[in-house]
């Protein structure tokens, strides 16, 4: 299984992570729109890590199965966590200064979206899927 882990510690890592995501999407035959969706989603999630947790990790995995191309991205940190997940994915909601207010937007870009958060551990998992011709 092809997997890339990018440490998220400063804003250069955000660029690195979205680049890796885009590359994997391209290699797996996703079109420009899905490449942009995935890269943008990774950008939003990894920026949240820097903004709210300081550091974390972004793991991009080729989770393709027979007949289906699939990329799973797991963004994980050990920051304060998200107190109210339902509120966090409400459009327009942000506890920050609007820099990384991307959760509702990010959710709309991807096929799968899941948040698990408790104080000290937050994992956001997303995936994009494409049926192979």
């Amino acid at each position: 299984m092809n997997e890339k882990a990018v440490k998220i510690e400063d804003s250069r890592d955000v660029v690195r992570a979205r680049h890796e995501g885009r590359e994997m999407a391209r290699k797996l035959g996703f079109g420009p729109a899905d490449q942009a969706r995935l890269a943008t989603a990774i950008s939003e999630l990894t920026r949240n890590v820097i903004q709210y947790a300081g550091k974390g990790v972004c793991v991009i995995t080729d989770a393709s199965e027979m007949g289906i191309a699939k990329i799973r991205v797991r963004v994980e940190d050990h920051g304060p966590g998200i107190a109210d997940i339902d509120q966090a994915i409400e459009p327009g909601f942000s506890t920050g200064n609007g820099l990384g207010a991307g959760l509702p937007g990010t959710r709309r870009l991807v096929h799968e979206f899941r948040i698990d958060s408790k104080p000290g551990h937050t994992v956001v998992s997303i995936a994009i899927v494409r049926r192979r011709a």
């Binding site: 804003s11 250069r12 955000v14 660029v15 979205r18 680049h19 885009r22 420009p32 729109a33 490449q35 942009a36 969706r37 890269a39 943008t40 950008s43 939003e44 920026r47 459009p91 609007g98 820099l99 990384g100 207010a101 991307g102 509702p104 937007g105 990010t106 709309r108 870009l109």
Partner: protein, 120 residues
Amino acid sequence: MKIAILKLRDILLTSIHVDLTDEDALEFQADVLEMVKKTEAKGIVIDITAMNVVDSFMARILNETASMVKTLGAEAVICGMRPEVALTLVEMGRELTGVETAVNLEQGVDKLRELIKRRQ
């Protein structure tokens, strides 16, 4: 990463050709304002043809930069957005509102000239 800003008679032209970090984007914003002021340009065209990701932060920077240029007394046009970037921004609910846009550099310069004429 420094983005070059070129002066062409009374307007400025710039093209974001690399993937910018957040700090780079903020530096670019400051450079644009500085150059508009220094050259007394009547407007600027910002070409984003090469950008394959415009996330909510970058969208905000572009929006703000255009507003700031206007506040200074000049005009701004953003041109060359890729279709997949437009699609992603709208899906996220982050359109560039209140910003003048054009399909390519040529139309961007035409539009800027038009805006400058209207202001005078």
